[in-house]
Subunit: 119 residues, 2 copies
Amino acid sequence: MNTINIQEKFSKFSEHWSPKILGEVNDSYVKAVKFQGEFVWHHHDHEDEMFLVVRGRMRMKFRDHEELVGPGEFIIVPRGVEHMPVADLETEVLLFEAKSTLNTGNVTNERTQPQLEHI
Amino acid sequence: MNTINIQEKFSKFSEHWSPKILGEVNDSYVKAVKFQGEFVWHHHDHEDEMFLVVRGRMRMKFRDHEELVGPGEFIIVPRGVEHMPVADLETEVLLFEAKSTLNTGNVTNERTQPQLEHI
């Protein structure tokens, strides 16, 4: 039951596309992740995902359009929907998602992070 | 699958202690709420709650201490733990919590909000 400072947590790591666990709320984790460049097209069969931008700006690409998400904005990607986050510059994002969520969803590649660090 | 601007949502209402639903992620709601003054001592038997301050500053009182939570900070209150949020000035807070969560937990009084508006 301690206050968590989000910027202080982001200062603890520099890797991109490697979510860190900041806390748990019921069956969900709150995660911090830095995006830069393109991720990978994927979907999650059973999990919705929330992306809240705290610094920078990202584009969430869908097959039929894309959404810009800037600081103080969030987007919720429903389960089953193919998506790919893209960040032209480094972007800091809070994730709120089910504990079972794998970052690359239905895809396994070099970006897949099955074990996440708690920071 | 639209981008949600948090400040734009907070501009839509002025009541205190009346959470509004901004979105759903799996079994959780994302809510916006404005705090001012003291709430009520309560706990939730089965639900953890996350409070993320976006503007202002609050104190989360526990029976044995209190935590200051400012902009860009959050606190997670585990199920079963008695707490009372206090905000000396108006404070805007994002909540992440199970859909089943009642704002006053085990207490029912004039602050209880069984039906929440989606904005």
